[in-house]
Amino acid sequence: MPGQFTDRPNRTFLDSGVLSRLSAVPLLSRRPMIGGVSGRHVSPHRGSSVEFAEYRKYVPGDDLRRLDWRVYGRTDRHYVKEYEADTNLRCCLVVDSSGSMGYGSTGITRMEYARRLAGTLGFLACRQGDAVGISCVADAIVRHLPPRRNPAHLRLVLDALEQAKPEGASRLPQVLHELAETIRQRALIVIVSDLFMDPEELASCFGHLRFRRHDVAVFHLLDPQELAFDFRRPTRFLDMEGGSPLFADPLDIADRYQQSLDTYLASLKQIVLEQGIDYHRTLLDEDYEKVLARFLVSRASGKGRR
């Protein structure tokens, strides 16, 4: 992004190569969006795009320019030809900035990974003319920028991402409820978090977002060490979100840990299936470009779903 951020050229979490390669794939919404301007996303309303939608009987007041004269000549009846309306979308990036996001055993922290994902998505959305906003949440909304189409706003979004520090406890479910009430128009809600919370609470807030007809996408960031839990020695585990430390012999509790983790992941999978959430389990040792490419391609193939 050398051209856009000339005064702050060093966005370490953005890679121009990645951005250029991913620009080839549009960021599409899986659900109709109601935007203020024309864009690349499906709208629930009829508009003036090139894609035919349907014929409708003329009623007084309709624009005579939309009257299909050929049909009138054949049938002696007045029909109005309607086209799909393409509009823009509001992309709300919800980035978990609680203390647990600071964990990373593969040389990159979860927060850093989240920056890369959210920053790249924000740039891609902005580039195709969509509004981008960001909410950094921990025990409350730490930083909130509503979606704007202004490219200068993207700079603020990226600044917010850069300045976000992983600290404090996580109250993501409460924040998501709050966002569901706050964002009035339909939007693409992209959640980047470790989701270390009760699946039932997540189910509740996902349901709330879906009720508001938002398109919800979730990047579930997990560290390989959290899945493997291959500690050998007795360990004192310090809670990164400020809780009490816990002393345990990993050999003793490894099996229960795995059992608990498996149960949690199974519950989460069930919830995202039921709620129609675009869920992506992401390991920190994966290349974020591939993760985003998979995300964009999957959404592009699902275009037109209403």
């Binding site: 203390g99 996001m101 409460q174 007795p234 360990t235 585990f237 809670d239 345990a248 003793d252 099996d255």
Partner: protein, 707 residues
């Protein structure tokens, strides 16, 4: 439990090693910043139940494994209390070995005998226990013999089977003396016996003294009985109860009474047993139909060459091999019957009064008359009447019976009579007219008492002794006797006939050999009708003569262990006598050590006389002392009894470290199974995957806190 290396038990605190390692590991923890605390908290909550128990079990198994290793290297011994009985290496281990014929019984034909088993087991046990000093006292010599090593018990001649019965009181007395003499810190007495009643002599007066001696010993003395009481119902024992040479026309016949006894109390006496009779080079076999527990082949006649009959001879009776080879053979000796020489001793005429002299002479004449009539006309009898004073100077070697109707012997006469009795002679004392207070062999005369009306004996021993029933089973007419006057008898003795007022009529005094009988009346008419009703007196005198002849004939039967042959063993047992100083030569039977000649079955010869030595008759009786009775014999002592079996392959004391090694392996395997990862366990047990989804207590608590 006892250990051969008990000092290694000092390392038992190493059992705490797993706990210490666990604690050290707890201290060597690392601190890690962790994000997924909710799963850790959930895992911790899950691990409070079974997992905690599993951890404890793993710790316990590790400790058990360490303990088992320590115990194994400490070389534990099985049967701890027995091992404790012999575990003190500094203690003197005294082995009392019953070598009686009944100990030759095996568990099956050709199997290992009780004696062999006992020797092997004791040797192995003492070797395992590491006994430093082992002393063997066998039932033949009753003399302590120190062994170089415990294994020597299996090889020494003094542990081989013998034909003589054992004397447990004598063995124990020797053991007491040995412990007292060695002054060792502790003593362990191992008794190897089959607990036969005739060997244990439970009524022996020595038992209380032995018990008291052992209890008062300053050393700690432990007794361990290895009891081989297993009966053998199929075992048969053969015995020749009588071997008599009788003329038949111009030839002679050897008449044998052969008894075959079955050990089993009950059971059908079926089957025929071939009995082989060896007589010099000639062998003959006669089949005997078994009926009941004991079958007697009476007066089995074997023709004898006339020339051979002029001398004496010997033979052997055998039955087929069975569980006990020691009672399958019986040796017998026979010869022309000797002159039945009897001495009638009367009161010195200078001392006796005139009136008394008539009555005594009447009784003396009656006695001489009865003794002079042999039961068979072909037998020769010789009766001499002598005074008590002249007896000491007379040769008594060929005298069978002395009928003594005078004051009890004293001084030289008493010595001559004692020697006579100890070589097997029979004495019958009759009361003098003027009894004195002098005693002989614990017996003394009291005063005369008249009975009017005359008394008749009310009870008498018809099963054995001089008043026993006849061979046909008919009882002697003892109850028909009229006793008008009796002289009281003072002292200990066994009454053979008793009057209605409880006074004994005939008493047998105690004696090692021979027989000493005391008759409370005389055959004089004023005293009794013994002369008029002469059957009883005749039977008594003739039976006494028969018994006395057994010691003076040129062919004799003797029980093994009697003091007939003056062997070293006999002298050591204190049973040697003047008569036993002859030099006997072994001519038949199994070869044994010359020092134990009289204790093994066989035939011996000396100066033209033959002596057939066999096991005592009591050895054929399978009577066993009850366990409770044995316990009572050692009451108040540290006594353990072990029931063993002939041919038993197991040892009495065994090292059981293998069991502990197995315990180590089992503990480690179990520990490994418990340490398996949970997922593998889940795969092994499909039910565990059906668990309902778990709640997340940490998230729940956070939600509650937010609410």
């Amino acid at each position: 439990m006892t250990f051969l290396q008990p000092w290694l038990l000092l390392t038992l605190p190493l059992v705490a090693l797993p706990v210490i390692i666990h604690l050290i590991n707890q201290q060597r923890f690392q601190s890690v910043e962790w994000a997924a605390m909710m799963f850790l908290l959930s895992a911790k909550a899950l691990s409070r139940g079974y997992s905690r128990l599993r951890q404890w079990l793993i710790m316990l198994l590790r400790m058990l494994a360490v303990a088992a290793v320590i115990l194994a290297v400490s070389r534990p011994l099985s049967q701890g209390w027995l091992a404790a009985a012999g575990g003190d290496r500094s203690a003197t281990s005294i082995v009392l070995l019953d070598r009686s014929p009944s100990m030759s019984q095996a568990s099956g034909a050709g199997g290992e005998s009780k004696l062999m088993t006992a020797r092997r087991q004791v040797a192995a046990a003492l070797e395992t226990l590491g006994a430093s000093r082992v002393v063997l006292i066998d039932s033949v010599s009753c003399t302590p013999q120190e062994l170089v090593s415990p294994r020597e018990i299996e090889h020494v001649l003094q542990a081989e089977p013998a034909a003589a019965a054992a004397d447990l009181p004598l063995l124990l007395q020797a053991a007491c003396d040995q412990i007292g003499a060695t002054k060792s810190a502790a003593g362990t007495i191992w008794i190897c016996s089959d607990q036969r009643a005739n060997d244990w002599k439970v009524s022996d007066a020595a038992w209380p003294a032995i018990r008291e001696t052992l209890a008062k010993m300053p050393q700690s003395v432990r007794l361990t009985l290895l009891a081989y009481t297993e009966p053998s119902d199929d075992n048969l024992a053969v015995r020749v109860t009588q071997a008599v040479l009788e003329p038949r026309g111009k030839t002679w016949e050897l008449l044998l009474d052969i008894a075959i006894r079955r050990q089993a109390e009950a059971g059908p006496g079926t089957g025929r047993v071939p009995v082989q009779i060896e007589l010099g080079p000639a062998r003959s076999t006669v089949e005997v139909e078994l009926t009941g527990r004991e079958t007697v082949l009476a007066r089995h006649a074997i023709p004898i060459d006339a020339a051979a009959a002029q001398a004496n001879g010997w033979g052997r009776v055998s039955i087929p091999a069975d569980n006990n080879p020691a009672d399958n053979d019986f040796y017998f000796a026979f010869g022309t019957p000797p002159v039945r020489r009897t001495l009638v001793v009367m009161e010195d005429s200078q001392v006796a009064s005139r009136a008394a002299s008539d009555a005594e002479q009447q009784a003396t004449r009656t006695l001489a008359l009865i003794a002079g009539i042999p039961p068979d006309k072909r037998l020769q009898a010789k009766v001499e009447t002598v005074t008590a004073e002249s007896l000491a100077a007379m040769p008594l070697d060929d005298v069978a019976v002395i009928l003594w109707q005078a004051a009890l012997p004293e001084a030289d006469a008493a010595g001559a009579v004692s020697r006579f009795v100890s070589r097997g002679g029979q004495m019958i004392f009759l009361p003098p007219e003027s009894p004195s207070s002098m005693a002989f062999n614990g017996i003394a005369w009291e005063t005369w008492e008249e009975h009017s009306p005359p008394l008749r004996p009310v009870s008498w021993r018809a099963d054995e002794g001089l008043l026993a029933a006849t061979l046909t089973g008919a009882a002697l007419p003892v109850g028909d006797l009229e006793i008008r006057r009796t002289c009281g008898i003072a002292g200990e003795g066994t009454p053979l006939a008793v009057l209605p007022d409880g006074r004994p009529l005939l008493v047998r005094a105690a004696s090692d050999r021979g027989g000493v009988y005391i008759l409370a009346t005389t055959p004089a008419l004023r005293d009794s009708d013994l002369a008029a009703n002469g059957v009883v007196l005749y039977a008594v005198v003739q039976r006494a003569i028969d018994a006395g002849l057994a010691a003076v004939g040129n062919a004799r039967q003797a029980d093994a262990g009697e003091n007939v042959i003056g062997t070293t063993a006999a002298r050591q047992r204190g049973r040697s006598s003047a008569a036993g100083q002859e030099e006997w030569r072994h001519i038949a039977g199994p070869v044994a050590a010359s020092t134990e000649a009289g204790f093994h079955a066989g035939v011996y010869a000396s100066q033209g006389r033959l002596l057939a030595v066999n096991r005592p008759a009591a050895e054929d009786a399978a009577e066993v002392v009850a366990d409770a009775q044995v316990e009572s014999l050692f009451q108040g002592l540290t006594f353990n009894r072990f029931q063993q079996k002939a041919g038993g392959l197991g040892s009495i004391v065994e090292e059981v470290w293998r069991l502990f090694l197995i315990a180590v392996v089992v503990a480690l395997v179990l520990e490994g199974l418990l340490c398996l990862p949970r997922r593998l366990s889940d795969r092994l047990s499909p039910k565990s995957s059906d668990r309902p989804p778990q709640k997340f207590p940490a998230a729940q608590r956070a939600r509650e806190a937010a609410a």
